[in-house]
């Protein structure tokens, strides 16, 4: 791919010393950053580095507390989404804003439909479909403008969002983690489209945490870390290692409190497990007291594997051996009764009962344990849950507090307490530290070690490679529904894991 960035010209957009504070946290601190027409500018950073805050400032959702934004060399204030749109800024968020029940053309021109007729203004559908065709052709994608969005694969949704941006004549296109749900081939396609947009002079801001993509698509890269601007560099002049170093800083290892500890006999083995449309022939075993990390890219089907073990997803082949006996969990209830606990990745959807109390959340999966002679025993419930709150150091006014009012880290601890309440001997953590702050992360890590120390087997699914490296005794890597590698703690490196995951 040819890369020509005319840096001599002035940037279409630049941020100067942008700072954004939220109560108790500085999300962005003095960030400088330039975007030129006809370049693909990659913005990288770990979770919580401030990428999404930056995007929201660009979208007009947040206003910066300090600093200035220049648009075409003129000072600009982006007050709201409408204004951002008028300035030619289009943002394709990770969770798309498409209407599945409408067709492609209707989505692309939603609420901006061209009309004909003077007295009665009719929507000009033929023009909509004609222009949609043209835009899609320009993107080199073969989608029928009249097909329902809901019937199309996710990869096409991405292209439709981009087409929407083009239909608005956008000059700046922001793509937020566009490849997180795409297959390799689809990613390849997407990159081709992005390249051709670059040729047309569109400025692309590409946000990603996938390092391997930087070299493939980017012209320049800007690194953020914990809300701070670390630096910008032309792609040719920087190595991936350097980017990683910039992203992670120096004190990477410190926050993982891993210590060697004795590991017992095998508690759970998975033999040739397969679930249609999700994963095939997955085998591994987990020992008592062991932390088994499962790494891989988003979309490697790790969550599906967890759900299948937990009895929430049907399997068509293979078997589980739990505590030396073949086990079959037809539903989550079976798995819970046998002593398996799952902390789901999307806890808001699959884990929490937001308007119910901390106590009710903790006991939700093991209610029968609270039944005494006169039914559920509230005093018992209060005592037990208060003990968990104390033990796990959950910061909550009381166990009667609604869980939705607590912070993400404390909610995660309650999800953990919920699994412990049912006496789980095997715990599956799916992205346990996603979206929680550094302090809470460390507490979760300590709890995991403590639980492993008590002889429980832990499976930790994580997309954060440093976390997998830092916390696991053994590491599996999954890719597209298969296990592609297994490493001992000593042998694992970031490069090896990435290689197996890509």
């Amino acid at each position: 791919m040819e890369r020509r960035v005319k840096l001599s010209q002035s940037p279409i957009l630049s941020f100067k010393g942008i700072t954004k504070r939220f109560p108790g946290v500085v999300a962005l601190r003095g960030v400088d950053f330039d975007l030129y027409e006809g370049e693909v500018h990659v913005l990288v950073g770990a979770n919580g580095a401030g990428k999404s805050t930056l995007v929201k400032i660009l979208a007009g959702v947040y206003q910066p507390d300090e600093g200035e934004i220049f648009f075409n060399d003129k000072r600009a204030i982006i007050r709201n989404a409408e204004q951002a749109r008028r300035m030619g800024i289009s943002i394709v968020y990770q969770n798309f804003n498409l209407i599945n029940k409408m067709d492609v053309g209707q989505n692309i021109f939603l609420n901006r439909e061209p009309t004909v007729g003077k007295i009665v203004r009719r929507v000009d559908w033929s023009r909509i479909y004609r222009e949609t065709s043209a835009i899609l052709k320009r993107l080199h994608v073969h989608i029928d403008p009249k097909s329902l969005v809901g019937d199309l694969p996710v990869a096409d949704h991405q292209m439709i969002e981009i087409a929407k941006a083009l239909a608005m004549q956008s000059r700046i296109l922001v793509l937020d983690e566009p490849t997180s749900s795409l297959s390799e081939q689809e990613i390849e396609d997407l990159f081709h489209r992005i390249s051709s947009l670059r040729e047309e002079g569109v400025a692309v801001l590409y946000i990603s945490h996938r390092l391997e993509e930087i070299k493939r698509i980017g012209d320049r890269v800007t690194v953020l870390r914990d809300g701070e601007y670390v630096g910008s560099e032309s792609i040719e002049k920087i190595s991936l290692e350097k980017v990683i170093k910039m992203m992670l800083g120096r004190e990477v290892e410190k926050i993982y409190p891993w210590k060697p500890r004795p590991v017992g006999e095998v508690v759970l083995s998975v033999e040739g497990l397969g679930s249609r449309g999700a994963f095939e022939n997955v085998s591994f075993s987990l020992r008592k007291g062991e932390i088994l990390g499962i790494s891989g890219l988003v979309g490697a089907r790790r969550t599906e594997l967890a759900l299948a073990i937990f009895g929430a997803l049907p399997t068509h082949s293979g078997r589980l051996i739990y505590k030396g006996k073949a086990a079959r969990f037809n539903n989550p209830g079976d798995a819970i009764a046998a002593g398996i606990g799952l902390l789901p990745e999307d806890k808001a959807r699959y884990g929490m009962f937001p308007i119910l109390s901390v106590a009710h959340n903790i006991t939700s999966a093991g209610l029968s344990l609270l039944v005494r002679r006169f039914g559920l025993n509230p005093r018992l419930e209060r005592n037990i849950t208060e003990e968990y709150v104390r033990k796990l150091n959950v910061r909550t006014p009381s166990v009667k507090t609604e869980i939705q009012s607590l912070s993400g880290g404390n909610q995660q601890k309650i999800m953990l307490a919920k699994s412990l309440f049912t006496n789980s001997e095997v715990l599956i953590f799916d992205e346990p530290t996603k979206g929680i702050d550094v302090g809470a992360k460390e507490e979760i890590y300590n709890l995991m070690l403590e639980l492993a120390g008590e002889g429980r087997g832990i499976i930790m699914i994580s997309s954060e490679i440093p976390e997998v490296l830092g916390m696991s005794d053994r590491i599996l890597v999954m890719k597209e529904g298969r296990i592609t590698a297994e490493f001992d703690r000593e042998n694992a490196t970031q490069e090896k894991i990435l290689e197996a995951a890509l």
């Binding site: 989404a81 409408e82 804003n97 498409l98 209407i99 599945n100 029940k101 409408m102 209707q106 939603l110 609420n111 901006r112 439909e113 009309t115 203004r121 009719r122 929507v123 559908w125 759900l307 929430a312 997803l313 049907p314």
Partner: protein, 330 residues
């Protein structure tokens, strides 16, 4: 209200017809069912297949038709209007009151106006405060129902002199070239509604709101304004039906809408195969839905199975169509 007692995870386990077949069934099954019913009834039921009978069914149906147009708009936009029965009664009373003192056209205006106004109020509450449409329109059902009875203390308004309101009466009972005028009116409004949904930006916004409220609002669609407009139109549709009923009966019946109007307005939309949670469907499906209900009832009537009242037919057909996947609700 999005009510889902079944978890998505459990739903994933459901298997059934191959995808393609199921998609065709979902799309065309309603029409197939309609034709099958017509065919069977034509063969089995004596006197069913005659122009007179068809015109008869279509005429009866037309008085409900307008209400179902309104309900279609509401349901397509992701809501539901439970106030329909009462609004029809209220419109009937309002128009009868003025017709009885010799002003049938003012009466018509009053009928349309008062029902639209009730719709406006429901729509404002839903749009501005985002109160649940079911609760709001249920409250309106009660309120408007009470008002309809309050005018006359529950008595009917009689004494409309047929000779003085001939033009008005013609709306409901007149014929043009043997075709009942009300059927023609129903057809005209069908095309209007269809045009509104298919060829205006307003229609496009209705589908967008019903398809994904959040995405629609991000695209700049004004939720409050849309809800107010939609529910006002829904009220207007009741006004048309109610006033036409006055024109037909030449009396004001305070309970005229209480029986089957609500059930038919929702039933027609559902049986026609429109998505009950909005976003997919069209007014043609609603008409087919209403025809299924009316022809079925008519056929059973002709067979002398009068024990099957319309209500049972509607109820069973709604549930059956839900079960067969002809009423889209997932």
């Amino acid at each position: 209200m999005r009510v889902n007692s079944d978890s998505t995870l459990a739903l994933q386990r459901k298997t059934g017809l191959p995808f393609e077949l199921r998609a065709y069934w979902g799309r065309y099954g309603t029409y197939v069912a309609f034709l099958v019913i017509l065919a069977i009834a034509s063969i089995v039921v004596p006197h069913f297949l005659s122009i007179d009978n068809f015109l008869n069914v279509l005429t009866t149906m037309s008085f409900v038709l307008f209400v179902t147009y309104g309900q279609t708009l509401v349901i397509l936009s992701g809501g539901m209007d439970l106030s329909h029965g009462s609004l029809v009664s209220l419109a009937c009373m309002a128009s009868a009151a003025l017709a009885a003192i010799g002003h049938p056209w003012l009466g018509l205006a009053a009928g349309l106006g008062v029902a639209s106004f009730c719709g406006l109020i429901s729509g404002s509450i839903i749009g501005i405060t985002r109160l649940n449409p079911i609760i709001t329109t249920l409250g309106m059902l009660y309120l408007a129902g009470g008002l309809a009875l309050y005018f006359t203390n529950g008595k009917s308004i009689t004494g409309i002199d047929a000779s003085k309101v001939q033009d008005f009466h013609f709306l409901a009972e007149g014929r043009i070239l043997h075709v009942p005028f009300v059927v023609i009116l129903g057809l005209v409004f069908f095309f209007l509604t269809h045009f509104l949904l298919r060829h205006t930006r307003f229609g496009s916004r209705i589908y967008a709101l019903g398809g994904n409220e959040e995405a629609a609002e991000i695209a700049g669609i004004n939720y409050a304004r849309m809800k107010i407009l939609i529910f006002t139109l829904s009220g207007l549709s009741c006004g048309i039906s109610g006033s036409l009923l006055t024109a037909r009966m030449l009396t004001g019946e305070p309970r005229v809408g209480a029986g089957t109007f609500l059930l038919e307005s929702i039933g027609a939309v559902v049986v026609g195969g429109n998505d009950i949670f909005g976003g997919t469907g069209n007014v043609g499906r609603t008409v087919i839905g209403l025809m299924i209900l009316h022809f079925l009832t008519n056929a059973l009537d002709l067979m002398g199975i009068s024990t099957f009242t319309q209500q049972v037919v509607v109820g069973v057909v709604v549930l059956l169509f839900c079960y067969l996947g002809l009423a889209r609700n997932k």
